[in-house]
């Protein structure tokens, strides 16, 4: 798995990974509201997927905590605390609200439920911004609703892609999400795809 902070970084990171000699490449596309993909990848997800994709497949994941290209040197590197740290220092009630409910999707904005963090302090390299995702999906001839999904290709010069829809995995608890992904990467579909990529 190759974590990058944004789509623009994919092309820069390509210089690195091309030397690895992967047969298959791709990126995982999901919105912040595609629960619980962000939470899973924030935890063990990257390591799991890195193991399951093997040494012949390199997949980009746009994920802020492990950004290779943009590093935040502040001790509290989260926008959330940078904005509200001074408030929390003096207000225990507010701190309790944020700690207990700051990351729960409970506020409806433009038809989708968002967390307090997503509304007031979205991550700076939040690739999962819906407008950005829409542009990506459009460029790859996909529908605006085709997320979360996996977009795969052999080489940057390919004129077609493979698309794997993962929308049925939204709102699955993390454990179930993990199991579903594990089954897919261990299954015949992925193996056949890798074989096809090696043979092209």
């Amino acid at each position: 798995m190759i974590p990058v902070p944004g789509l623009d970084s994919v092309r820069c990171a390509w210089v690195e990974i091309r030397a690895e000699g992967f047969s298959l490449h791709g990126f995982l596309v999901f919105l912040a509201s595609d629960h619980y993909f962000p939470q899973y990848l924030d935890g063990d997800g990257l390591a799991d997927l890195d193991s399951w994709t093997g040494s012949d497949c390199g997949i980009f994941v746009v994920q802020s905590p492990s950004a290779k290209w943009i590093q935040y040197t502040r001790t509290t590197d989260h926008t959330w605390w940078r904005i509200f740290g001074h408030l929390l220092a003096a207000d225990e009630e507010l701190e309790h609200v944020l700690v207990a409910h700051g990351n729960t999707p409970l506020i409806r904005v433009n038809g989708t439920r968002r967390t307090l963090q997503e509304i007031f302090a979205p991550c700076l390299n939040q690739f999962q911004h819906s407008a950005e995702i829409e542009k990506i999906l459009h460029r790859f001839n996909l529908r605006p609703t085709d997320h979360p999904s996996l977009i795969l290709f052999k080489d940057l010069k390919d004129r077609s892609i493979w698309h794997v829809d993962m929308s049925d995995l939204v709102d699955l608890p993390e454990r179930d999400l993990r199991n579903a992904l594990h089954r897919w990467f261990a299954g015949t579909d992925f193996r056949n795809l890798l074989r096809e990529a090696r043979n092209v």
């Binding site: 623009d8 092309r11 290209w69 904005v109 390299n125 460029r139 892609i161 995995l169």
Partner: protein, 475 residues
Amino acid sequence: MSEIRRIELPKQTTVDQQLHAAAVDLLPAEMAEDPLVRWVSDYDGLTREFHQEEESFPAFEKEWHGERWQTLMFCYLASSALQTKLPFYFASLFHIARIRQISQGVLGIISGREQTRVLSEWASSLAERLTGPEREQQAAAALRRLSEASQEYHSRQLARADQWWKRWRMEVVPFRGCVEALEKAWGRDRYGEARGEVPRAVLSLWAMSNSPSELQMSMSHEGVRFKSVSLLSVAGGCETFGGQAWVVPLLLAGIGGPRWTSERFGDELRYLLHDWLQAERERRIAPQVQIALDRLRARYGDKNPFDEFGVGRRAATLALRELAKENNLPNGRPSPWLHEWAETLEEMPWSSSALPKPSRDDESLRSATRLADSIIKKNVLEERFLFTEAWGDFVQRVFEEKWVETVGAMAGATNKNASQPAVVWTLDEFVAFVENVVARLNDIGYSLGTPAKRRLQTLLDKTSRGETVYGEGAW
């Protein structure tokens, strides 16, 4: 998870092209349409390897007979120089765009016209998660404080992004100029017409690539660093070529060729040394520049102290001159605050330009006043202030030398070349124009006087005859 679908990309494009287009799509329209942005984002030399069939540096065409090693050397040096800086400008561009988009998005949601109603709805949703008899009030208070803090933070972020964007453009313009100069030099050198220009252009590009970037220092101060280029390598320059010493003899060897002469060798060496020393000086002084920037930033915060001296807003004072001196960085360049303000000043036209008479409405007089104010402010920062001169006398002198004299030269040029009487400036018209501008300037705090009528007459008469009027006592 569903089955795998094979999808053709639009219009026979490639994954690479679509990724590139999608990345540029992410930029706000104002940035995406900027030619500099297109230049940086279209430059694809980074993803090409040197041994590929395509040239790693687009400007270099196939080598000509007998000089293959020089072509390869300059290709390598130029590409290396570009790879020092272009990844940073590419990455920083998207970082600035993200800051803008995120902060504009947040402010759009939380500070719209229906903010009160929206916060009230949100408070109800939050209150459902809380306990206690006062959960509604608790939720409302929490959201109000979050909203206020967030608005303040994101407004500052937007101001910072704007400042960085201006800085980005300031740095990329000369960088692009170096690349274009190299391309031109190479194009001419194909026919042996510009021997020596190519190595000089390569060294200029190298010097530019390895000069410290104030944008990068500013971003680094905010905790943003980019993996591809460290501050040290940008400041040092050694890493690009693995050491400075061997660059000079290689470039000097590159200067040679069929038309080499000893005199040209000396000239080329002088130019090379000049560029080299300049880059070295920039590198060594970079830490002092950073300290100065940090100090100014701590003092000013997010406000620009020059704002109160905006064009047409307030007269130039001694405080402005002292503020400008404070904002001259150790490397001789203006601070971002001074630069941003200086960019708003109007430029004086050439003294040989024709000067149409002002129209009867207020607009042309307002424009003339803005120009006069701009010229005074620009020059009170640059002109030498004589130690026995009062500030008011200094400003009057600057006004007369830099504005009245030039306007007089323009009116005189118009009179000299006039093809019809209607465009000719009479003395009364010229005096009235100067008086009106003086009155408008004094309204914003100046204490100027209109030069005596006989002096204005001398000025107009001389310039109408085509005589020059520069120098003390000329009018």
